[in-house]
């Protein structure tokens, strides 16, 4: 498939936004259970929600560049009964709504204590909103991943690992950014987020490697014999009927060399997993927000490469009909 940068930016940006929100939810729920100290609502949770919202809106804006007719984009929500893309178009605004409400409540301090436990821990309304937002976040991860994972002809994508990878990679990038943010706004939580970021990155490494191994072993179900219905072992395309290219030749192939593909694979494996972990621990040891931010930036660039590779690796069966000019 041809990697479209609009979709690469869409999925990586909303992944960061979703991960940041999950990190805020984790922090606040741990605080409610008194496992972590409670943070200043406006400074940490409020600004954190703003960061998450900025990334979510950025992703939404990027997605419009993928549409031929963006003015009709509202119609994309109508077929939620059958289409995962339609469900994502509904889940994204719902999640953004919860993030916005949560952020507004935290920023302006409009919180309501719903009940108080004997030892002083409270259930805040913001935590309830955050829980709903957390559920919407996971729903959005599932919808985004399933857009690709439901296409059974694209055998490289047709696996639950696609959804798991989207979830873990997005969450990891968000947690790394939150670690950097915490070192600035909530230093007591920095180690907490750093440790969780590392755990999630390691988990994502395992699942992404699993999908790479699986994709390396795929045996294509479609062959030139099934595509033409001719039973002969040696069939070679001589012409595709036109020489100037078409949507079929532009949209379904990455047009890069095999060497470039291999390099991208190693680039993303290095930039997404070991380098950010290293920078995280160096940054935490030195309490340096700059290094922690560098960890996020490096990982984000690696995620762009990872998403590019994810798209480029998928082999569409229609390519069997378009092999020789």
């Amino acid at each position: 498939m041809h990697p479209a940068f609009s979709v690469i930016f869409l999925t990586t940006l909303i992944g960061v936004g979703q991960g940041v929100f999950l990190a805020l939810f984790t922090g606040q729920s741990y605080s409610a259970l008194e496992l972590l100290p409670v943070q200043d609502s406006s400074r940490f949770y409020g600004n954190g929600a703003i960061i998450a919202l900025v990334f979510l809106i950025g992703g939404l804006v990027a997605s419009f560049f993928h549409l031929g007719r963006p003015e009709r984009a509202w119609r994309a929500a109508t077929q939620w009964r059958t289409s995962w893309l339609s469900r994502e178009v509904i889940a994204l605004p719902i999640m953004m709504f919860f993030v916005f409400v949560y952020g507004a409540m935290q920023h302006f301090g409009w919180d309501v204590t719903l009940f108080t436990r004997a030892n002083g821990a409270n259930l805040q309304l913001t935590l309830v909103i955050a829980t709903l937002g957390m559920l919407a976040t996971f729903a959005l991860f599932i919808c985004t991943g399933m857009i690709y994972a439901c296409l059974k002809f694209l055998q490289e994508w047709y696996t639950p690992l696609t959804v798991i990878n989207y979830t873990l990679l997005g969450t990891a990038s968000g947690f790394v950014l939150t670690t950097a943010f915490a070192s600035h706004s909530a230093p007591e939580l920095m180690r907490f987020y750093g440790i969780w970021s590392t755990i999630i990155i390691v988990g994502a490494l395992i699942t992404r490697s699993a999908s790479l191994i699986r994709n390396g072993r795929i045996k294509a179900k479609s062959t030139i014999q099934t595509a033409l219905g001719v039973r002969h072992n040696k069939i070679q395309q001589k012409a595709m009927g036109f020489m100037g290219g078409s949507v079929n030749t532009r949209d379904f192939f990455h047009h890069a060399s095999l060497l470039f593909m291999k390099r991208m694979k190693w680039i993303f494996l290095v930039l997404v997993f070991p380098v950010p972990i290293l920078l995280l621990w160096v940054g935490m040891a030195n309490n340096n927000t700059g290094i922690l931010l560098a960890a996020f930036v490096v990982q984000y660039l690696g995620l762009i490469a990872e998403r590019w590779f994810f798209f480029a690796q998928a082999n569409h069966p229609q390519n069997l009909y378009y092999q020789t000019v």
């Binding site: 994309a76 289409s83 296409l151 059974k152 100037g244 078409s246």
Partner: protein, 243 residues
């Protein structure tokens, strides 16, 4: 229930591209059009076509055969492009099974073209909506055309009658008969899309000549006894007379 479709006879297709050009000509000014043409007389012409013909070589030199392979939307009975469309622009008609695109709803997200394993759906680079073969739905129901011309433009244009049009669910129709009798098959059956367009395989007509057919084994006019002999010094009329 009716399922209109095409049957493409690979045995007689010569790869002339008449179906490609007639389809483009008919649709570019109709409700399914326009069909973008970029650099039509220039260096790398490209554009929107509903029907394309590919050419393959089967076998290894010197035992090779050429296969010309026209392909347009196969109007699948279980079309994968329909459930993935987020706006509902892609739909399959209940009445005749034709899969169509509503240009007013399409947002050009290309998800349906990802979902089609045959590569039958194209985004029109100018109008920015997805377009595909409509099975000439504007021709087949047009009462202003004579009955014999209410067929897709490609079917009428084919000089070798390699394209046939009819209802593949009606077992009495000509297309169903030819599928049954000539071994018509579907493309990429492993994906379960159940395409309605069928292809007829190439067939070789072979003649086996036995050695004794080259030489007459018996003379049908030869009776048990020898026939009357003609006088030796007169010319004979060989086997055609008995005297």
């Amino acid at each position: 229930m009716t399922q209109l479709a095409l049957v493409i006879d690979l045995n007689v297709c010569v790869g002339c591209h008449a179906c490609v050009t007639s389809c483009k000509e008919w649709n570019t000014s109709g409700p399914a059009g326009f069909m973008t043409d970029e650099n039509p007389y220039g260096k790398d012409p490209t554009g929107t076509f509903f029907n394309r013909v590919q050419t393959y070589e089967i076998g290894e030199f010197p035992n090779t055969e050429t296969l010309h392979f026209p392909k347009s939307c196969l109007h699948c009975e279980d079309p994968p492009c329909v459930p993935v469309c987020p706006t509902g622009a892609s739909y399959k008609r209940e009445s005749d099974g034709i899969v169509l695109v509503d240009y007013d709803k399409c947002i050009g997200c290309r998800y349906c073209s990802w979902a089609c394993p045959y590569g039958a759906r194209e985004i029109d680079e100018t109008q920015k909506v997805m377009k595909k073969c409509t099975l000439c739905v504007d021709r087949i129901y047009d009462q202003a055309l004579p009955e014999s011309e209410r067929k897709p433009a490609c079917v009428l244009a084919c000089p070798t009658s390699a394209r046939l049009f009819g209802d593949v669910h009606d077992s009495e129709s000509a297309v169903s008969a030819v599928i049954r009798e000539e071994g018509g098959y579907q493309l990429m059956p492993e994906w379960g899309t159940k395409p309605a367009n069928h292809y007829l395989p190439r067939r070789k007509t072979r003649m086996h000549i036995h050695a004794d057919e080259l030489q007459r084994a018996d003379n049908p006019l030869n009776k048990e006894q020898r026939g009357p002999r003609a006088p030796v010094d007169e010319p004979t009329l060989d086997d055609s007379t008995s005297w």
